[in-house]
Symmetry: D2
Subunit: 377 residues, 4 copies
């Protein structure tokens, strides 16, 4: 039996790089060799024991790689050796939920999220991809691995915040929190045609980045009364659409308060408890408000569309990749990412350490020299 290197979760705060059996493709499945992956905020929740997964599971849900093996029935659609990405969410396309358009809930609540949650994930040399025909998305030859690294999760998630918010051209939009997801929601607001785009965060560095990703105004939530300021910017009404990108009661509540009657609160955050809609902010249930939550859309078509945006120069998310590590150094990478030190936004994890050497270290400096709005043009 062939083996491979992988990052295995054992218990709260205990992950380790280990040699484990390499997966084999069954009918309709594929195995890809991972060339690049990354760490998500959700992985931090998992490692810290705040979101339960089985001991022994390989973590990670953001795969970039090359097709290594194709199970029965796939060879007319794909070829071994093709460069592909796979979404964090892997819908089957054939169940009740998928056929009703709720692909992320494939098979049941949150069911489309399999990698690093209910099946082995992408922090490994090889990854088994279920329902491969619906999920393998070839990478356009002009695009580098790093340029598409954020498509499997945070670009898809952030953009979905703008999509579920049904942003119309000319809308005013506020995005609460400007971490990687929030920044991609800001990009999404821009791509959907918002006019006034308000980025909110307590961290002034991230607000600088927000400007570069399309925010037309930024508000530091440590310095101003965010709700009051948003009302002031919108003739006293509130924004048409607010996007929550953190997962806390406070940001949810501010999003609701900052949205005009008839507006939409689009929530992306992962909450760790109940959520409360205050009486006034909820207009006693009479404000024609919509609150909508969205789990990262997946599937090969979603991935193809996101990569097409990069291919046609509509988006450049590569500035978000601030650091690079070998997968062997997962502990250092995890430590940096979870601490938020050194202006880290996203880290690139290379199973093959030699691939890192081929490119220079990028840094936050790249961001601050960019032109406003240039991440999404």
């Amino acid at each position: 039996m062939k083996t491979m290197k992988a990052v295995v979760f054992h218990a709260k705060d205990r992950i380790a790089v280990e040699e484990v059996p390499r997966p084999v493709a069954g009918p309709g499945e594929a195995v890809i060799r991972i060339t690049l992956t990354t760490i998500c905020g959700t992985d931090v929740h998992i490692v810290r024991g705040e979101y339960p997964v089985q001991s022994g599971l390989i973590l990670g849900h953001e795969p970039v790689g090359v097709i290594e093996e194709l199970g029965a029935g796939l060879d007319k659609f794909y070829a071994v050796g093709q460069r592909v990405i796979v979404g964090a969410i892997t819908p089957c396309g054939q169940c009740f939920y998928c056929l009703n358009g709720s692909h992320s809930q494939c098979g049941g609540p949150l069911g489309g999220w399999r990698f690093g949650n209910t099946i082995n994930g992408a922090w490994a040399e090889y990854l088994l991809v279920p329902d491969a025909r619906a999920n393998l998305a070839p990478i356009p030859s002009s695009l580098s691995d790093e340029s598409v690294l954020l498509c499997p999760d945070i670009f898809s998630t952030g953009l979905s915040g703008a999509e579920s918010g049904r942003i119309r051209v000319g809308d005013s939009v506020a995005v609460f929190a400007q971490g990687p997801i929030g920044l991609c929601a800001t990009v999404g607001a821009r791509l959907k045609g918002a006019s006034l785009i308000i980025g909110v965060d307590p961290n002034s560095d991230r607000l600088d980045v927000a400007h570069r990703f399309g925010a037309t105004v930024t508000l530091n939530s440590r310095e101003v009364d965010v709700v009051e300021e948003i009302k002031r910017l919108t003739d006293g009404r509130g924004v048409d659409v607010a996007i929550e990108a953190l997962g806390r009661q406070e940001t949810f509540e501010n999003a609701l308060k900052a949205t005009r009657p008839g507006g939409i609160v689009s929530s992306l955050g992962v909450y760790s408890g109940k959520i409360v809609a205050p009486y006034e902010a909820f207009h006693a249930g009479l404000g024609d408000q919509t609150i909508v939550t969205t789990l990262c859309p997946g599937g090969k078509e979603r991935m193809r569309r996101l990569m097409a945006m990069i291919e046609h120069d509509r988006v450049d998310l590569s500035p978000l990749v601030t650091h690079r590590f070998s997968l062997d150094d997962i502990e250092s990478a995890f430590d940096l990412f979870s601490s938020g030190r050194d202006h880290v936004l996203k880290v690139a994890l290379y199973p093959d350490a030699r691939a890192i050497a081929s490119s220079r270290e990028r840094s936050y400096q790249r961001l601050v020299t960019a032109t406003p709005g240039d991440a999404a043009i």
Copy 2:
């Protein structure tokens, strides 16, 4: 100065029939002579002091009548003597909110609701109608006043619960609470093409009525675990759409729990405090859920459409009118309606007492002899 009879709100639990000045139509306004009106649950909140309005205000927001006077600019659209209804909500059609499609929020939060809230209402012999061109809806000659009495508010509101829930043909739907609004939401679910329609209420009499209004299954919330039972009826998943028609935390929470991932909770209730989405029911924010609130749609086109449904025998809401009173007897009428005694659903209030004599008393019996589903066919 001409005067008229009207029901005036003075203070908590103090309303009185009084002689007050009769309104005069300014430019763009009309005065209608009220022939019929009714009492709404919201009026009960107002009289009990739970929803604040100014002392001296004439209450009531469900007018049926005849055009008495037309202000400047309206004579090419209407004629004195035309029978009309006016929605409880009177949008101007020309402000920020109306032009953005949020007609019920005309001018600001809840701003479309004027009658008996911010301007004098329909419990009177005459009513001043603002923005008359957008709001006077002629009654088809084949329809009686009573047959259209519920269009201005509860039919429009109940139906909007089904519309905002974006019910698709074949959806499963649960309607929480089967008072007049909930019954009209049940009718709405039927009119939008739901398959399984679950009516929920603690009152078995109202569940009987729910069957007649289109519920295919009813659940007594005193007798069964409603959420569990709804899951059982839907292969363990929950309904596609739940409609909340009461305005309590418990019904909201059950609606959320009873809805499948990717589903919609459409809320019609007027809440008297904060609303909480529990962690599990909210799927930590990852369930692709939508929560939407709706304030009664108004305007003449809405009214025309609702009346067209009655005219073409798609709906018959007259069984909901269980009692008749002279407007002079408002205190008795209010007492009966607010108590819920005697199977009361809605009461007809006639400013001219002689109009009552022309028709026989109806009663709850009429309902129970009807065929299942015949309110919405």
Copy 3:
């Protein structure tokens, strides 16, 4: 090798019942034993050589049956012996088109329509079902085979005309042609909440049936100027939505003319040549009009939803099945159906002739004794 009986197309006007090899299920495929099927207008086009298919193909695309064999990977979803239907359109759920929501165009133009078109069809004792997981829809135990016979195609198609027309509650709708598809579109208009529903046809018998299926007004196109009459019924404006259910220039053109500015023409017909939008009817391209065509939606979820409508007594299409035949008598059945004689609407074809004897002959009489609108309540 096992064989079976099937109706094979050889050339224009030449079909024959023959003994042919019985299909075997590969991975992801299933074989069902057909218990009931029917003839569609499209089959008439094929047999007459107006729509080309390969010689040797088994025709028919409306299968009702029992699972006979399950290919690899399906046994956790289905069991041999389950009663199922399969849509005329069999989307894979995993390709570009399916993942973009265009399931009927699965794989390419019209690609979802496989049975009796690009692969062997349902006029046989056994049928191979591709992408079975996405397409096998279990029949609720309370429903007979005949009660669900029209779900695979004409109910799905007719309803889709109302759905693509985005009919809103209170809309006025005209349905051009009242053959089986048009009648199901009339049912669909009713299920979507139309108020005024105008059925149009040159055949007065079919207009009688249209009343029973939900038309509130019928117009005989031989006797009146249909466009003028529709304008008269709609205050001179035209209907909100017109559904074309025949596939001729004349009906398309009348549908366009009879629709108000801002309205929708929803086209279901199969056209045999170009389609022309006249200058006046098209308002020079400035009328905010929408023309939309729809190919029958398929997939197991669509089938489940349609059957749920029948299960919950929202629709009863069984009156449309006017005649029964053994599959051996395909030529007689085809002759009757294609001639339109004897008030035929749809014929039931039984591969096992003994199944017919178990139920009485139905006839057009059943229809004319029904209550108006009772097909869709």
Copy 4:
């Protein structure tokens, strides 16, 4: 009686600057002093006698100005002296069509288009604005008159092509013809998040401009087989959305052919005859295609939104204004514009000739030195 200067239409090819009575505001109306206006392709049709208007009518439907007089009922919303624009389309917000969301068809077919069509237009010193409350849109103080000159018609129209095409993020889009409307449709495709944006025109100069307005690929219809080339660029499928921006059978037909099954053809052109959908391109009515036409959206909210896009640097349409004229020189201006000479795109017409001197002549050069895509970022 006060008089004013205005351009009056007398007969085919006969317009003249004349002194005519100055309008006075009635109730709900306003008079604005025009500071800037422009010529539209539709005006060319009118002057050439291809679109009939009454002799004696003042032409022009793109007003920029200052409020001169407010009729009764408007002073709480506006003040004399405010800078405003008014859309080419002036919906009332209160009629059947407006309340059904078809504002451009206000009152009847094409009824929202009043200026220079059914009432006096903007080629004058003063303009009477009907339903002023719904139509006067204040100009943000940071924006110049020229920067908002294209909002009343071509920006609104071009963008609506993208909106009615329901472009989703990642869609591929082709825009047929790159005149001012087509260029604004290209901008719209970009603002709605298209990835591949294909600009089509026979004029290579305009294709250069198209690149600057957001086209990612341009095709010269004189040099290549456009349909074939579009298929090649889209893996053989065709674009998700095609926008027709000319109004000819050939471009409509190519748009239809170049659109994938399940796609949308969004038509903006003004056609001068019937339109034909060829059999193959229309997939016999089975391709799940949508054809939608749109008349320029108007109303103050639309104008506010468009100006907000300019205010927040999402769009800069000023490069489209290539020439400036005094209104007195309407004949020279008209001659230049209708001839298409000298790279003309849009001309600015100043009723007060002194206003021209305050700014330098712009030219096509400005465009060609811009960065790709910078009109819509």
